[in-house]
């Protein structure tokens, strides 16, 4: 038998959150944690959680699985179990709406703050703005983020100051545009991050790297942003590595 403990909270009925214990036969085949939640939901339809693509692309089902943030749909039960025990909680640090569903507003506010879109006021070419293959390679490991919030909600700096510290997910995206040779607003992007909190609250404890279900490295991106801030303002016209002025 598996001993499953799930965080339950329905603000319309419960004064305080509590852990509900479920016992279930160990499945013969190895299944994902999300499949297990579905099995439990068949018997208890009041259990609430987010899910969508069930293949690690949409980032909806981020949750704390036995103390580690991850996506339920790509976390195998055999990897998550500690003995026969499994504790599932919502992503830490964010307000709980119900059971495993959290309010992501603070997370999205920080994402909005870094202006996650290309800024280039020059006349667009007929088809598309070109990059050299070497410049395009600089974006690998950055653009793949699915905004599941597993990294930001595993970061104590984000727990304590979610309104001031941008958080690893949004900083990874900030660097994705700082590293993009087609973007011409590097100075203003860096100005927005120059205060003591936005980037510098990262103390490099690397919980974000351990939590990221896509194997990305926000800590490295934050290090690159810090280097850019310490070096001072960039040139307005960035010279791309192929010698073309972007």
């Amino acid at each position: 038998m598996l001993n499953i403990n799930i965080y339950r909270y329905n603000p319309e009925q419960d004064k305080f959150p509590y852990m509900m214990n479920y016992e279930i036969e160990k499945p013969e085949k190895d299944i994902m944690v999300l499949d297990l939640l579905h099995l439990l939901k068949e018997n208890d339809p009041s259990l609430s959680f987010r899910r969508s693509c069930r293949e690690g692309v949409c980032g909806s089902d981020g949750m704390s699985i036995n103390g580690k943030n991850g996506l339920a749909c790509i976390t195998a039960l055999s990897d998550a179990l500690k003995g026969d025990r499994l504790d599932i909680r919502p992503l830490p640090g964010l307000p709980v709406i119900r059971d495993l569903v959290v309010d992501m507003t603070q997370f999205y506010n920080q994402y909005e703050k870094i202006k996650p879109f290309l800024q280039n006021d020059t006349t667009p070419p007929e088809q598309e703005r070109l990059q050299s293959p070497a410049d395009r390679d600089k974006l690998d490991g950055l653009y793949e983020c699915i905004l599941c919030a597993c990294c930001s909600t595993s970061c104590p700096s984000f727990w304590w100051n979610p309104d001031k510290f941008v958080g690893p997910a949004a900083l990874l995206q900030a660097y994705r545009f700082l590293a993009d040779t087609r973007d011409l607003e590097k100075d203003s992007r860096l100005d927005d991050l120059a205060d003591p909190f936005s980037v510098y609250r990262c103390h490099g404890i690397m919980n974000c790297v351990a939590a990221c279900p896509k194997g990305l490295n926000p800590n490295k991106a934050i290090g690159e942003i810090k280097t850019m801030l310490l070096k001072g303002k960039s040139s307005k016209n960035i010279i791309a590595s192929d010698g073309v002025t972007a």
Binding site: P156, S157, W159, W160, N161, P162, K164, L193, A194, D195, P196, F197, S198, V199, Y200, K226, L229, L230
Partner: protein, 135 residues
């Protein structure tokens, strides 16, 4: 009054300087403290067993006085940044609210008092040290 204003501005999270300035101050101060420790330890090891005269001459030298003044200023700056960071992490309505709702209501006042306390204590200790070194 300036101290209260300074502490109030800082305890709300805006250390009146850029993040990179704080970063440099922390790194430079720690490097200077490390060099100072090496300087004193090398003197002690190379002079063993130390006679009072030797120690007196060492501590009376201008180099020792200047380096000690700078080293303790570095400690003051380094500690100030560290304690400010702790205050803005843990003495906030949000963080104290995890423990208790009443505590969260007095978090801002607690942080202001905490900032004033360590600023005053740090300055007093520093001036006391200046007296010991220079007079």
């Amino acid at each position: 009054m300036y101290l209260v204003y300074f502490s109030y501005s800082n305890c709300n999270g805006y250390l009146l300087v850029k993040g990179s300035t704080i970063w440099y101050l922390q790194r430079c101060s720690s490097i200077f403290i490390f060099i100072y420790i090496i300087y004193v330890v090398v003197f002690i090891i190379s002079s063993l067993p130390i006679a009072f005269n030797e120690w007196f001459l060492f501590k009376s030298s201008l180099l020792f006085k200047l380096s000690t003044t700078t080293a303790f200023l570095s400690i003051l700056v380094h500690a100030y940044i560290g304690l400010w960071t702790i205050g803005t992490d843990y003495l906030t309505p949000r963080t104290l609210g995890f423990l208790n709702f009443t505590l969260s209501k007095i978090a801002d006042t607690s942080r202001l008092l905490y900032n004033i306390l360590f600023t005053v204590l740090g300055l007093l200790l520093y001036f006391y040290l200046l007296l010991l070194v220079w007079i």
